[in-house]
Assembly symmetry: C2
Homo-oligomer: 360 residues x 2
């Protein structure tokens, strides 16, 4: 499909969700690509501060007061003073596709020097099927100029609907605090011209900096957890969402892609601050990963909502003993789904809403 074609078709079906814009240059730099789209900005800190959005953008802006007003007693499921608050935008959107991006991410260039339209590439990834059941050595077989290679079973070539598209970062890589401390100057200069499906049964570290997804298919699983003020952990919001989203996508027969598009990640966050936020996550994840690798969802769980509620029960049963935090998180996972159903009362996605045919 041509770039303009995808843009034209989907303009009315996409929301761009941004957690707090501190960098005034951010929207100006993206103007050519974002101006046609609707923005949802979720402010993560002090609601009395004013975010100045430049002229010409079509946007809604929500701060903590709005979150409290709209969600009432359920507002505690949205993190405070943390970019995890972005998932409030996922809840409020009425669009089919979400692109979420951080305000320190700018337009990257491909090796020919051309500016990369990140949203356009995400939509291409989401609009073509995924292939989670068998690995294609020439990467995404639905990209132009490539296909399934010899030995790829024909019965699997239809693929499955794509739930999420995980984009990457040039310049500052997404490293944890220990790696930042050890390699403060390492920059990612390698442009890998590939999109691929992460195989079924394989977990990955999902980063929320440059991420798109089909909200109808997987939105309820894109909860960024409890981080920031009052919580014992930070910088695991996107990881949590990624683990949950991947096991649910695997169960529902949906695909997750990673690779293109790149954005330019401008600055590394402070590794000392990050270490403080991360240190519990660094050892908790040693128990969380085996948990998620062994999650099994019953076949009655036929929607992302049902899967997510079931997962919350397993989190309580298996992770409550790791730390009391996970009991609280399990409760809040249920609150999130209640909020989702309240604000999205239409129920599960209609089967004709699937972009690439029915889920298997």
């Amino acid at each position: 499909m041509s770039e303009t074609g995808a843009t034209a078709i989907l303009k009315e079906e996409v929301d761009i969700v941004i957690p707090t814009i501190r960098n005034l240059e951010f929207l100006e730099k993206w103007r050519a690509f974002f101006e046609p789209y609707h923005l949802i900005i979720v402010q993560d800190g002090d609601p009395s501060k004013v975010i100045k959005v430049p002229e010409g953008f079509d946007y809604e802006l929500y701060n903590r007061n709005d979150i409290n007003r709209i969600l009432g007693p359920k507002a505690h499921c949205i993190s405070f003073k943390d970019s995890a608050c972005r998932c409030f935008g996922f809840l409020l959107s009425k669009k089919k596709y979400i692109f979420t991006i951080d305000d320190d991410c700018f337009v990257a260039k491909d090796p020919s020097g051309k500016e990369i339209n990140a949203l356009e590439q995400h939509l291409k990834n989401l609009l073509t099927p995924s292939t989670p059941f068998f690995f294609n050595t020439l990467y995404d077989p639905f990209r132009e100029g490539t296909d399934f290679v010899r030995g790829y079973p024909f019965s699997l070539r239809e693929g499955v609907p794509t739930a999420a598209s995980h984009g990457l970062w040039l310049n500052v890589p997404d490293y944890d605090a220990p790696t930042q401390l050890v390699k403060p100057l390492e920059r990612n200069t390698r442009y890998v011209d590939a999109v691929m499906t992460i195989p079924k049964g394989t977990l990955f570290p999902m980063c929320g900096m440059n991420l798109a997804f089909n909200r109808e298919l997987i939105g309820p699983a894109m909860y960024f957890g409890l981080m920031g003020e009052g919580q014992p952990i930070g910088r695991y919001d996107d990881m949590w969402a990624g683990w949950c989203m991947k096991v649910i996508s695997d169960h529902l027969g949906l695909g997750v892609k990673t690779g293109l598009p790149y954005i330019w990640h401008s600055k590394a966050s402070n590794p000392f601050v990050n270490l403080k936020k991360e240190y519990k996550g660094i050892y908790w994840q040693e128990e969380l990963i085996p948990f998620f690798q062994s999650v099994s969802l019953p076949k009655e769980c036929t929607t992302a909502q049902k899967c997510y509620v079931e997962l919350s029960k397993q989190v309580r049963a298996k992770l409550g003993k790791v730390d009391e935090y996970f009991n609280k998180l399990a409760d809040t996972m249920v609150t999130w789904i209640e909020a989702w159903e309240e604000l999205n009362p239409s129920g599960p996605p209609k089967s004709d809403a699937l972009p690439n045919g029915s889920a298997k």
Copy 2:
């Protein structure tokens, strides 16, 4: 490690195995890269034909008469008139690493125009660990300029020894006959600058055109089956080896990488001839893939040999009903292991032979 460093260390530990050289230019084109290494050439057809190897190469050449003489009653496990005969070279080698390449594969160039030393890259892939238990979104974390990303469990960062390195092809892609017929002019021009581990539990279509492996770790599983004259199927030799090798690597805690290096694949084979060779494979594979996806090996199988013999029993039990061919293949898998043990009497690899520490 520097390229010259890897070359210098490993010159005495590598054999290059080539099935029949029909193209006289082939070795001349590779002279700068292959001349320091020992070659094993296995001639696949009429033994009275003479393969002319240019001056300056260090090589052994085996034809059908040699195979019959050396293997005696076991010689039937080596295919006749098919490039599957290459595995005879794997059997005879006494080296730790094998690089096997087809005679229509030439030196490719990277995007900067530099000639790619394919063997060098394969050795880098084999000498660094694999990461089959969790996906790293910046690809092989052991390449220069990159690392494990945030959220990658620290307990998994040591990785596991790498059993095999699967390289790709610029120009003519490795398509099956139906795809060749539908897209006769499609060429692969996309240089994807990545190496990655194929996750545990995920199968892939392994192509024998540009392939390297650690013979001590996985050699006995690299049997290319029964193809060519007298057999009902062709062009599935490398696929068969790939499925067997991958399930055995997964069981033994070894890794398989794919991606770089590229070679230049010069010409597409005849799609009509290919269709005749492939057509049974195309429908058989619909039953073979689910079989290999469900293979489970008992924990007593601690070496590639033991795994392979056990796999042969499961092939007979589960695939014999697909076609009588698989009963014959199951027998020949055992013959192959007997031949392996006869020619490689030293037993399983010593644990200090592992390049990246012990298998888990």
